[in-house]
Amino acid sequence: MSVKDNLHNLKEKYKGTKMAPAFNAIHTFLYLPNEVTHGGTHIKAADDLKRTMNIVIVALIPCLIFGMFNAGYQHYAAIDGSLRTDVLANFFTFDNLWIGIIKVLPLVIVSYGVGLLVEFIFAVIKGHEVEEGYLVTGMLVPLIVPVDTPLWMLSVAVVFGVIIGKEVFGGTGMNILNPALTIRAFLFFAYPTWMSGDKVWVYDAVNMSEADAISGETMLGYYAKASQDLTIKGTNGAADLVTTYGDRANELYSTFDKFMGFIPGSVGETSTFLILIGAAILIFTKIASWRIILSAFVGAAVMGLIFNQVVAADIITESSKFYGLMSTVWWEHLTIGGLAFGAVFMATDPVTGSQTNKGKWIYGFLIGFISIMIRVFNPAYPEGVFLAILLMNVFAPTIDHYVVQGNIKKRLNRTKVKTA
């Protein structure tokens, strides 16, 4: 007898008992269940919640694998800067992958293990089926945290995010906030020293000497301090290198590096290129809304352009603490930080985003717009994407309400004209 039949028999045996949802979950996760719907009219479709989630995970896999290599690459490049001269030759090496395996894989395993455990416990207590909602969240979480995040911190945050962000509202499909971002926000507010600064983005940067660890800063960190002086202590008797943060960033990373993702940052969000491939998969399979993705990028570009104009008009000068990120060229804002990742994988969450087409344009646009605004005006922690998306998650129902009301009003007017 196959495993599938065994599971089916177990399910039948434990039907109606407390543990039944656990067996059902394993069964549906691994196989197409034997049950068929009886009676009534029903639509047959190839995609269910499980398939939808799986496609998102497939779209995320390139980012994860890239993130594993990048974890190692950033670690070795921080020790030996000469590796950066030939990125492609030094990137896909086994040494890099090994760092990824020992640092990134545990994040993935802990995220899934803890999250699914919470889901199983809730399913058993409440006596409903285990919902597939956590499959995507569990993959998103390790991709949006710094590589050095301690595993126990991640567990605490996942427990908090799943319970407070999702289960209290009634589980998958009922949540107001994106659970993955709730987890990220919890980590950021609870353990800020582990979530920002120049020591957490590169594996083992804490133990590196000052001269090297300066390359552990993220792009946003560099640009925030663009006009500040930076002194890099010379090694082996060489003279100290005096430069500014902005110049140093341009020296270390080319536009190609930024677009392809060979930069320090959270595990899976650095590669705009692979994120766009993921976006293509999601748009092609009609899982993510292209309206949200496009309008988020447009919103970010518009805000970036406004800031560029403010700088060009000499309203903000180099002495201002906002100058660094405000003067960053608008299209560069799109490639650095978590904007692309947030716009493609987070903002498009069908549960927490806007539902109406017009609403999606507004929702996405404001996400991009507010992201760049938070980035610029909060130089201490210049990443606003997760806050912007959480904020718009809260406003999404309001936007939808007004779009629907507007439509009703328009149609009422039309009938009035006809009858008059």
């Binding site: 301690p150 126990w152 911190m153 407070i164 609870a190 353990y191 020293t193």
Partner: protein, 215 residues
């Protein structure tokens, strides 16, 4: 209980659980958010409210037949304000540092909805002894939640209880910190107080399902 009749005992015990001013009536939330980052402040706040509400209820109850109903709110406010000023002065005299931490929140006891609520709903219609019991019961019900929230927020947020480092020293890395534990800074921010109160409400309602309203 020999001291209290059954009817009177309910006045004391009811607000502790099934009619708790914070978790059931959802009153006095502002102070529960503002001052519960430290256990000490929570306890002082709880005691202050106990004093104001216990005594205030008696005073209002004694005057209930002579207060013209049109100006009763003003009379109530004067009574609370007087009692709050006494608390404020006592704190300033004997616990100056603490009174600075509590700052405006002692003064804001005046606007604590629980106090006005009890005056209006109970003291105006009942005798002094029953009003006293009701005031004590509600103040303790409020204080218990305040202290519970303060306990978790200080323990998890600062790793201390009443100022004593119970989990070890975060800078010297002793105790729990030696194995990599870190304080949860989120616990010290007000939103977390709301979430902790929410979790308490959740636990209470899942234990006593009669409290859940029907939709």
């Amino acid at each position: 209980m020999g001291l209290l009749s059954k009817k009177d005992a309910v006045l004391l015990t009811d607000p502790l659980a099934d009619n708790n001013p914070i978790t059931i009536q959802v009153l006095g939330i502002c102070s529960a958010l503002a001052i519960t980052a430290e256990l000490k402040a929570s306890i002082v706040m709880a005691v202050s409210v106990l004093f104001v509400l216990g005594l205030g209820n008696v005073v209002i109850s004694l005057m209930r037949n002579i207060i013209p109903s049109k100006i009763r709110i003003i009379v109530q406010l004067i009574v609370v304000a007087t009692l709050v000023i006494i608390v404020d002065l006592v704190l300033k005299a004997f616990a100056y540092e603490l009174s600075k931490t509590l700052s405006v929140f002692v003064g804001l006891i005046i606007t604590n909805c629980i106090i006005m609520g009890r005056f209006e709903a109970f003291a105006l219609a009942n005798g002094p002894w029953r009003s006293f019991l009701d005031g004590i019961g509600n103040a303790v019900g409020y204080g218990v939640i305040l202290i519970a929230v303060g306990f978790f927020r200080e323990l998890l947020g600062s790793g201390t209880l009443l100022g004593f480092a119970v989990l070890g020293d975060p800078i010297e890395k002793t105790g729990l910190y030696a194995i990599g534990y870190e304080n949860n800074g989120f616990m010290l921010l007000s939103p977390m107080a709301l979430i902790v109160v929410g979790i308490l409400i959740w636990i209470q309602r899942s234990r006593n399902t009669a409290l859940i309203e029907e939709n």
